[in-house]
Amino acid sequence: MGFLDIKNVTKSYGAVEVLHRVDISVQEGEFLVLVGPSGCGKSTLLNMIAGLEGISSGTISIDERVMNGVHPSKRNIAMVFQSYALYPNMTVGQNMTFGLEMHGVPKPEREAALKDVAKLLQIENLLDRKPGQLSGGQRQRVAMGRALVRQPDVFLFDEPLSNLDAKLRVDMRTEIKKLHDKLKTTIVYVTHDQIEAMTLSTRIAVMYQGYVQQLGTPKEIYDTPANVYVATFMGSPAMNVLPVRVVMRDGVPHAAVRAQDGAEQYLRFSQSNLAAWDGREILLGVRPEAITDPDGADRNSANIVPLSNRIGVTEPAGADTFVTMELGGRDVIARMRADANVVSGQDFTFAVNMEKAVAFDPASEERIAP
C-alpha cells in the first residue's frame, strides 16, 4: 500500500478508452515522473489525480483515502501548471495565498506562510507585483510558491519547465530537485523531456498510447528498457535498434550483422539465454555510448567486441564526437571520445560493449534479454 495509489484506473471519453488500466503505487516522499510523447495520456492521468478529470473506472487514493469524486480542493494537493496559471488580476502575494484564503486560513497565518515560502524561493521582492511584470523564471517560481504555501500531501507538476529557455530550464530543474530533497514531499511530475525524467525522478513511468510501458527507477528504465519504445524514447541520442540474426559460435550466441561493405560481422552476446533464438532474427539494442573508439571503451566491461565499419557523418559535440555509420541497413550512432581520430569516409574499428546490449523480440518488441 503506497501513499498515492492508482489502482486499475481507466479513462474513457464516450466509447473511446484513452487510458488503459494504470496501476502505480507511489511511496511517500517519492518523486514520480510521468514521461511520454504528447497524447500518451500522462496529463490526463495527472488531471485525474488532481480531480480535474473524472475517473472512468478504478480508484485513486491518497494516504489511504479514496479520492474518486472528491473535489480537487479537498485532496490536499497542489499543482504547478505548464503556463503557470497565475491569476493576472492579483499580485504575486495574492496569487500565492489565494488557496489558503479559499480554505479559510486566517490572514496572519497566510502572511506567515507566504513569508516563509517567499524566502525559500527568494521571491520576497516580487510579492507586490502583478504576474504580467515578471520574467518567465520568476513566474515559474511564483507558481511553485503558490503550490508550496499550501503544504500539500502531493505536488503535481504539469510540464512546468517547458516554457522556459534552455539554460533557465536546467537551473530550475536543479532547483526543483533541491527543493524535493529538502521538503521530501511526494511529487508527481509530468514531462515529455526524458532528461528531466532521468534527472529528477526517483521512479519513472514511461507512457505511450494510454499504456504505462514501463515503471521503474531511472537506471532500470535506462539499462533494461521493457520494450523497443521505451528503449528509443529514453536517452539522447536514442538507443540504436537494428535487426540482427542470432548465430551460435563456440556454443555462445552472437549477433550476425552486415556492415556497410556487406561483410557479416559477429558480436558476442553476454546473455546466454539468447541461445534459444539460434538462427532467428531479433532486434539488437545498443546505446551510442556502448559503441566507442577502442580507447574509450569501458574498462570494467567483460565483453568488449570489435566492429569494423566505414564512418559516415561525424558530429563533434565538444565533450564527445558522434559518429553515424550504416549497420544492418540502419543508421547507427556511436559516441567517441572528443579527441578520437575519426574522419568521415574512412574505415574504423569500433569497440562495442556487448554487456550493455539489449535484445528484443522482433514481433512483440518486448525485451527478451537481459
Binding site: A50, S73, I77, M79, N89, G99
Partner: protein, 292 residues
C-alpha cells in the same frame, strides 16, 4: 496600450498621407451629416426651418425647442415633454442590461470552462436566437407576459429584453472566455475556489474589455427599442415610444425643431455611452468577439 503598439501601418509618402486624411475626413463628414442637420435645425425657430435651407446655421439661435421637447411638448393628452419617459427608460435599461450581461457572462463561463456533452449545440441554439425577427414574437410574447402577470410593467419589459439579449451577450463572453487559459480555472479549483468564486475572483476581474462591448451593445439595442416598448410598456412607456408619439402626430402641425431636439434628447444616453466607452470598444472587439 497594446492597441497603440500594434503596427500594421505601412510607410507612406506625403501625398498619400494627405490623400488618406482626405478620405477619412470626407467619411467623417458623411457620418456627421444627419447629426448636423438635426442639431442645427433643433436650434432654429420653426418658420426659419420651413422657409429656409436645411444645411444653414440658425439665424436666430433658440433653445426653446429643447426646453419644449424636454418638458412641455404634447406627448399624450398632457404636455409633459419627454422628461417623465426618460426615467422609464432608465428603469428599464439599467436592470435589463445588467441582468442580460451577467447571464451572458455566466453562460459564456459555463460554455467554455465547464463544457459538457451537448454544450456546442446549446450554444448554437442560443446564437441562432440572436437572429429572430422581433415582430414574430410579439403576439406569443404578449400572451406569455399576460399569463405571468407582467404585461404592461417594467419587470415585463426587462424580462423581454433580457430574454432576447442573452444570445448576443453569451456570444461575446463565450468568444472572450474561449481564449482565456483554462489552466487558471483549474488552478483556482485546486486552490479551493468553487464555481461562483472562480467566476467572481478569476474571470470577472479580467472581463473588462468584453463587458464594455457587451454593455454598449445591449444598452443601445434596448434603449432604442420601440416595438417591445410600445407593445409591453403599458403605463411605463420608454423614451422611444414617447419620441415616436412626439414625432408621429397623425394630424397636426409638425414642429420639426422640437422633433429634432427630442430626437437628440432621446439619443443622448446612447451617444454618451459610445463617446465615453467607445475607445474601449475596438479593444474589446479585439479581445475575442471577432474571432471566427
Amino acid at each position: 496600450m497594446a492597441v497603440a503598439d500594434q503596427d500594421t501601418a505601412v510607410r507612406t509618402g506625403l501625398v498619400t498621407r494627405v490623400f488618406i486624411y482626405g478620405i477619412l475626413l470626407v467619411f467623417a463628414a458623411f457620418y456627421l451629416l444627419p447629426l448636423f442637420v438635426m442639431l442645427t435645425n433643433s436650434l432654429k425657430p420653426l418658420p426659419e426651418i420651413t422657409g429656409g435651407n436645411m444645411m444653414a446655421l440658425p439665424d436666430t439661435w433658440t433653445f426653446e425647442p429643447w426646453r419644449q421637447a424636454w418638458s412641455s411638448a404634447q406627448i399624450g393628452v398632457e404636455p409633459t415633454g419627454l422628461k417623465p419617459y426618460f426615467m422609464n427608460s432608465i428603469l428599464m435599461v439599467v436592470p435589463a442590461v445588467a441582468i442580460s450581461t451577467m447571464i451572458g457572462a455566466l453562460n459564456g463561463y459555463v460554455l467554455t470552462k465547464w463544457s459538457f456533452r451537448g454544450d456546442k449545440i446549446i450554444f448554437g441554439l442560443l446564437l441562432f436566437s440572436c437572429f429572430i425577427p422581433f415582430q414574430i414574437v410579439l403576439i406569443p410574447m404578449a400572451s406569455v407576459l399576460g399569463k405571468l402577470g407582467m404585461a404592461g410593467s417594467i419587470p415585463g419589459l426587462v424580462l423581454v429584453h433580457v430574454v432576447y439579449g442573452i444570445g448576443f451577450s453569451t456570444l461575446y463572453y463565450r468568444n472572450y472566455y474561449a481564449v482565456f487559459p483554462t489552466e487558471l480555472v483549474r488552478a483556482a479549483m485546486i486552490d479551493g475556489a468553487g464555481f461562483f468564486r472562480i467566476f467572481w475572483r478569476i474571470l470577472l476581474p479580467v472581463s473588462g474589455p468584453i463587458t464594455v462591448v457587451c454593455v454598449i451593445w445591449q444598452f443601445t439595442n434596448i434603449w432604442n427599442d420601440f416595438l417591445f416598448g410600445a407593445s409591453f410598456g403599458g403605463q411605463t412607456q420608454p423614451m422611444t415610444v414617447a419620441l415616436n408619439n412626439l414625432v408621429q402626430s397623425s394630424t397636426g402641425v409638425k414642429e420639426y425643431n422640437v422633433h429634432f431636439a427630442g430626437a437628440i434628447l432621446a439619443a443622448l444616453p446612447t451617444l454618451l455611452v459610445y463617446i465615453v466607452a467607445g475607445r474601449y470598444f475596438v479593444r474589446g472587439l479585439m479581445a475575442g468577439s471577432v474571432k471566427g
